[in-house]
Symmetry: D2
Subunit: 291 residues, 4 copies
């Protein structure tokens, strides 16, 4: 298949690399051109605008936030204007439910297709083709992208026909991780202050109840206070919890734990910890306990 | 071995039954004698007081709360007065850190041994010998009880020499479950109100990030709103979160999520839901969202 | 003076009426024309568009929310296009800090003046000329409006040169009222459940510590559970706390009590109480207590 | 009248001094005898035990916390054992509802009278005879103490026949002050970070809505960040909010703002600020905002 790929951050670079490895023909674009050129040795062509990458007919976007996606999709020389009728925009970034719905409407009005396909997984998982993709949109549109998803992910989930559903599930997934970090941070603060070794505490909890890798990984980071370097920065954690709260607010759903976690991320940034791993909110819990 | 076993609620009955099956000689006592007599066909002897069960030299207690343990251990005809010097009290109930420390001190002063050995697992797990036991106390004391633990549990964790550590880990474990329920309740309220099917939401979340049985079980209860009959009642959830908060308060550790969850349990009781499964706090989140 | 006045809800009608009583020459506009015509007997002229009211040179707006102000100020036949160079838009609505800054910039770019002048006070206070006005903008612009403010308010506060400051103070004022309602709601729930008569409780608290009319008024509403009819609806309370939280979020300031109160308003709406007085959140506190 | 007075901290010393000035005959006792002797020049007699002060027939207690009151009232050489039948214990300390009820019962069983009479006001108010007293108990008992109350306070409120009611009102009053401090702290953090001068903000808010001296005093402390020296220490604030939460918990009343404020006080102590004025929690709000 011939595809365009826009956005070559840590995630996008690994994902586009896997498309190339799987034998897809990929035209890439990135705001900082140097990152796009990194993929030339693997056979990627480098476009000079998002629109040029979109002209191919299927274009994937993997960008930092709403603003970046809005600019690339709806701006000058953007996707909307260049994607041919019948073409498909596969939006893999973690963006707001609202923007995803706007994109769906705009592409639909232009006779184009739109699939939301955000992913779970860190850059290492992206590199190892271990991502999970949560896709939503019209079934034939998703089916057409199947070979692309197969090249990038270990598993595809289909969330339904409404693209916004995939985005909502993604931000709620990140909210659930963040709330887990917060709760473990509180529990470990009390354990440590009571003289229980964090490693012992975690060995027992992850051996009995919280057996998923997620709990082992974050539990271990918190127990070792290994917030640096960041796998996923607190500032990005804030972004995602904000997206969950924005969706909640417009749907009229109180989410008190989400508000509490959002405040922790704001405090982390207020204390100069915005670029630490998002699990650094556990350090705030420890400091509040006088540790 | 010859042992006493005090407290034959749903958990205790199953645990004492497994001791009998493993060939131990068990003398049981329960406030309501009829429950104790249920074990007679399996070979149990029925004591007429806690003290009579304690006179044997090793006595296990599995009771509802601090008050029950205090009465049985420290009251008239209680364990403290009847346990021979060198005897051991194995306290398996979910009780406060404070009471556990008091019991340790009282037994120590009387030349007796004390092991805290609370368990993770519901009555079904107790019946199936699938409990996890978290024991803390002097190593030889724990070692002496090993055959008893083997007869009741799938795995034993040793939390250290200070008995209170085991009780703290137990109540923090229950806090972590309760906070998971709360977060999933909030997330599912938003998913449902946004038109995402709860089953789909859970399939994705438990397939990607939250892969432990705990998440599948509680996720499924919340998605199906199957709060009745209770596996573990909201009123008991309140008890355990209170124990976590009491430990936190006396250690000077703020636990905002624990406070929030405690308030949910209080509200559940305020709305007449105290005897529903403790995951019923997810219903409160849904109702607040207008569902 | 000749002025335009846009927005004749409960507040605007009373305020424009006072301008007329003070001898000002007022041209009014309202989306529903019938409300504008109510002021004709007092000498008001009725404009056929916001722009017509703005052409006069000074125009005051008193509207429900950001959307209404945006439409009237920036839309077709709106203020921005019709206000003569050197003219002044006095924005008295409770709107977001962001919109106020946008309006300031837009009017500035058009050679027009902009004063933010939100008010504290309910419709009765507006009718009785007892409002407090918090104005911000260039000093000469505020000075020019002094006779208008005098005709509508008991006192004018000048918050500074940046119009957004006045809007921020206004939304924070409403946040502080809402948080007072919440705290009194919690306290009264405990008092009532403990058998202390709410009236007695309030008599003591408002006699000793909380001596301002605000506390007496809201305390009395909560004690009597007189949430109907609404002086200020829960749905409007939600709007204003959202404005405070939006300002906080973009400034990077955690406001946990504001989040908590926002969730109460969302819950109030979820329980069908959105059109009750905003102090109805105290009823939620009482219900959570089983009252 | 002849009375005993137990507890000569900052508050008690001023209050006992006022009793002496009013011509009462006062026998004082304090754990540290030196403080008791300070009142000898004014005519006080110094007792050698609480019991000796109680033997007089009316004894007032003004102590730091539950533990101190319990020891003085129920301990060796304590009030209960020495107060003559028909004598009265007037308990003016800020203590728990639970202890107050226990004291009422114990004195009742001994044929003695018990009046709970906690006070609102700081040491300066005590010195200036400007306290507010909230008394509860049997009417004749309160009436008998009227001359004593008159000598110490500007006003007496009678809360009812159940002594615990007075204690509940007192701790709820302090909760309401603490929650006001928290809300003002959050609002001022946002104002400051948005470039609004705190003094201007307060001038407007205390001029319009929050007109009571309470708001002016705490607002001013927060605006000037004048947390040292403490009028009332954060550690005492924690004690009182704990008392409110303990009453709430045993009555089954969720008080989310109280939990939030309790956590702020715990954090203040965790950050080494326990002996600053309790309004120092506003500093935590500011720091979380990066100020």
């Amino acid at each position: 298949m011939e595809v365009g790929f826009i956005g070559l951050g840590k995630m996008g670079l690994a994902m586009a690399g896997n498309l190339l490895k799987a034998g897809q023909s990929v035209t890439v674009w990135n705001r900082t051109r140097a990152r796009a050129e990194k993929l030339q040795p693997q056979g990627a062509r480098v476009a000079t605008s998002p629109g040029e990458a979109a002209r191919i007919g299927i274009v994937l976007t993997m960008l930092a936030d709403d603003r970046a996606v809005e600019s690339v999709a709806l701006g000058e020389n953007g996707i909307l204007k260049s994607l041919p009728p019948g073409g498909t925009h596969v939006s893999m970034s973690t963006i707001s439910v609202t923007l995803s719905s706007r994109l769906a409407a705009a592409h639909g009005a232009a006779g184009q297709h739109y699939v939301a396909a955000p992913v779970f997984g860190r850059p290492e998982a992206a590199a190892a083709r271990k991502l999970f993709i949560v896709a939503a949109g019209a079934e034939p549109d998703i089916a057409r992208c199947q070979p692309l998803f197969d090249a990038m992910a270990q598993k595809l989930y289909i969330a339904g026909a409404d693209p916004a559903a995939a985005n909502l599930i993604k931000v709620l997934g990140n909210f659930l991780i963040a709330s887990t970090i917060e709760s473990f941070g509180e529990a470990l603060a009390l354990a440590r202050k009571s003289g229980v070794a964090p490693e012992k505490f975690l060995e027992i909890l992850t051996g009995t109840l919280f057996t998923s890798p997620l709990h082992q990984n974050y539990g271990s980071i918190i127990a070792r206070e290994a917030y640096d370097p960041a796998g996923f920065a607190a500032s990005l954690g804030l972004k995602d919890v904000r997206l969950a709260l924005a969706a909640a607010d417009s749907a009229g759903v109180p989410m008190p734990v989400a508000s509490l976690v959002r405040d922790r991320f704001l405090s982390a940034i207020g204390h100069g910890l915005g670029e630490k791993d998002w699990s650094v909110i556990a350090r705030l819990a420890a400091e509040d306990a006088g540790l």
